[in-house]
């Protein structure tokens, strides 16, 4: 019951955020965005034809009314039809979202897990050569652009100039082995790019926790290293770790898959969004922005509940 009340309060508290996000993006993308009227018309349109298309696109209505329509679309989760393909936005999303999740999830999980493990190793050997080597690699990783990594990995693993082990583009997945064939290189690229940042962040969190009094107490009572890292360090660093992971979810799902999917020709939400950006397909962009904002509020809520689960000092008030 307490959780439900809390959830309700949080969701209501998230409304200003959703309003802000949708308003700013609506203003920029839809109101100031490109006029699609003439693209949808044949040559030499008549005045009536122009009128009817403008009415269909909603251009004839006043600004506020169009924004309210957008809000209604978010609440009802119905964003109309894509300008370019005419397909319902909902069915596009329903088709592409599972693909995006399948592409991004392994890399996201492994990138965070590996980062955490490397960070623990580095922090445990703090200032030693192992620490310096790991931190050196992570700075190198942070200094290479995502695009460079993607191009290089595709060259190395998917082209006749390199190993040519994996398909370079596309997504023909009907079995687990297909899945592994198509997902491996994108996953490696995602891990490579995220690892440097993750390792650094987690190491800083862990080193800070290691300096705390209660860790010294645990050591003074003979706690062995593995237990020390788990019980005293990791358990107590969960709040920043959870924060980082949770808050990267909404952005990674959109921005991360955007580049991967475009470059590897994978028909996920990222690719759809990219096409929508380049073609000014507003219904899709409106849906993506609106859903991301909703996802953010839900993330905030779940994060807060998780805080309560991992730290007895946090209350849901």
């Amino acid at each position: 019951m307490e959780i439900l009340q809390f959830a309700l309060r949080k969701i209501i508290g998230g409304i200003p955020l959703i309003l802000g996000v949708t308003f700013i993006s609506f203003l920029l993308m839809v109101y100031y965005g490109p006029d699609k009227t003439y693209e949808l018309l044949g040559k030499n349109p008549t005045a009536e034809q122009i009128e009817s298309v403008r009415a269909e696109l909603g251009y004839d209505q006043p600004f506020l009314q169009r924004y309210v329509t957008y809000l209604r679309e978010i609440v009802t989760l119905d964003f109309g039809n894509s300008f370019s393909s005419g397909e319902r936005v909902n069915s596009i999303l329903k088709r592409t979202m599972p693909i995006s999740l399948a592409v991004i999830t392994p890399g996201f999980i492994l990138g965070n897990l590996l980062g955490l493990v490397l960070a623990l190793v580095a922090a445990y050997h703090r200032s030693g050569w192992i620490d310096k080597a790991i931190m050196g690699f992570s700075v190198v990783g942070m200094s290479i652009s995502f695009l460079i990594v993607v191009i290089a990995f595709q060259l190395i693993f998917c082209s006749s100039y390199g190993l040519n082990w994996f398909p370079s583009r596309g997504w023909d997945v009907y079995s687990l082995s297909d899945y592994l064939r198509f997902v491996t290189v994108p996953t490696m690229a995602t891990i490579f790019v995220a690892l440097g940042y993750n390792t650094r962040f987690y190491r800083a969190v862990i080193v800070e926790e290691m300096g705390r009094d209660h860790v010294r107490t645990a050591r003074a009572f003979g706690t062995p290293p593995a237990q020390l890292l788990y019980r005293s360090v990791l358990k107590n660093s969960l709040i920043p770790i959870i924060t980082r992971i949770m808050f990267s979810i909404p952005l990674v799902v959109i921005s991360g898959s955007l580049i991967i999917e475009t470059y590897f020709g994978i028909p996920g939400v990222g690719k759809v969004t990219y096409d929508a950006i380049t073609q000014g397909d507003q219904p899709i962009l409106k849906a993506v922005v609106g859903l991301t904002a909703v996802l953010f509020v839900l993330t905030l809520l779940i994060t807060d509940i998780l805080y309560r689960v991992v730290d007895p000092r946090v209350s849901l008030k």
């Binding site: 700075v139 080193v207 952005l251 580049i259």
Partner: protein, 297 residues
């Protein structure tokens, strides 16, 4: 002691504390070998960029001088691209673009972050703070590339759409850090004293509080600089990046069509030069943090 002289005294203490922070940091930085090497490398890139401003080199980056994908030769040190333009000149000129993008975005976003963060922190808990936090939350929740696209649409293809979008989103981290620091600083005596002698609040914020956050601002500016250069690459790939000119991002975007056919010069040189600058800047930024932040681990 009158309150004015107390204030003066405390301000000088605060200022002196700051001086010693900076002189200690300078000392520490001077003895950080990696940091100094990185700094020298950044400076070298800076000279490379300045050279194009003064017209010493690489101003023929857009000239069509050779054939399609000429190999590396005495004439074309890094080969030529699909249009027969000199990749060496383009690579070098892109350094200038990188500095332009990096500096503009770093300086503006740091300024905005400092002002909004300081005001929010000084009036923490009030509606001003709420407003800034809300704005930050909103900007953080819009997917970055979509936001840039939206700004690009809204600015009707202006060359600065990318800059505006980056500034609008990159100030938030700086703002958050400054806000936290200001909430801490607010409790110090020199602020109390300044308030006690009736200095106007805005003057307190700008003259006494923001200067005490310079160490955060400097480090944040270097981080944003790197982020801006890296984002430019992705945005150029998406067709939202640098409009009139050449950049490593545009070269890499070109390269995406070329590497499949075995033309690697655009890819290799843009990658190497970009990696060098970003790596040097990252290390420089690290050394700065080491020197300036006593708590940094």
């Amino acid at each position: 002691m009158s309150s004015a002289s107390v204030a003066a005294e405390n301000t000088t203490i605060a200022v002196r504390g700051r001086d010693s922070l900076w002189s200690k940091a300078f000392y520490k930085f001077r003895h950080d070998r990696m940091g100094m090497v990185a700094f020298a490398l950044v400076m070298a890139y800076g000279v490379m960029a300045l050279g194009t401003v003064f017209g010493w080199w690489a101003n023929d980056w857009s000239e069509i001088r050779g054939g399609r994908f000429d190999p590396i030769s005495a004439d074309f040190w890094f080969g030529s691209n699909v249009n027969g333009q000199d990749i060496f000149a383009r690579t070098v000129f892109s350094t200038r673009t990188a500095f332009e993008v990096g500096l503009v975005v770093a300086i503006l976003s740091t300024l905005i972050g400092a002002v909004l963060g300081a005001v929010a922190g000084y009036y923490s808990g009030s509606w001003i703070d709420e407003l800034v936090l809300w704005l930050k939350g909103v900007l953080d929740s819009i997917p970055f590339y979509l936001f840039v696209a939206a700004v690009a649409f809204a600015m009707q293809g202006s060359a600065y759409g990318m800059h505006v979008a980056m500034v609008a989103t990159f100030w938030t981290t700086t703002g958050r850090l400054v806000r936290g620091e200001v909430i801490k600083l607010k409790q110090f005596e020199f602020v109390e004293a300044a308030r006690a002698i009736g200095l106007p609040e805005l003057k307190i914020v700008f003259r006494h509080i923001i200067p005490n956050t310079f160490h955060i601002l400097l480090v944040q500016a270097t981080i944003v600089f790197v982020a801006a250069i890296k984002s430019e690459v992705i945005l150029s790939f998406l067709g939202l990046g640098v409009k009139n000119g050449v950049s490593w991002g545009r070269m890499l975007a070109e390269a995406t069509y070329e590497v499949g056919a075995g033309h690697f010069n655009n890819f290799i040189w843009a990658s190497l030069f970009m990696f060098g600058l970003v790596m040097a800047f990252n290390m420089f930024s690290d050394a700065l943090q080491d020197a300036l932040d006593p708590r940094k681990v």
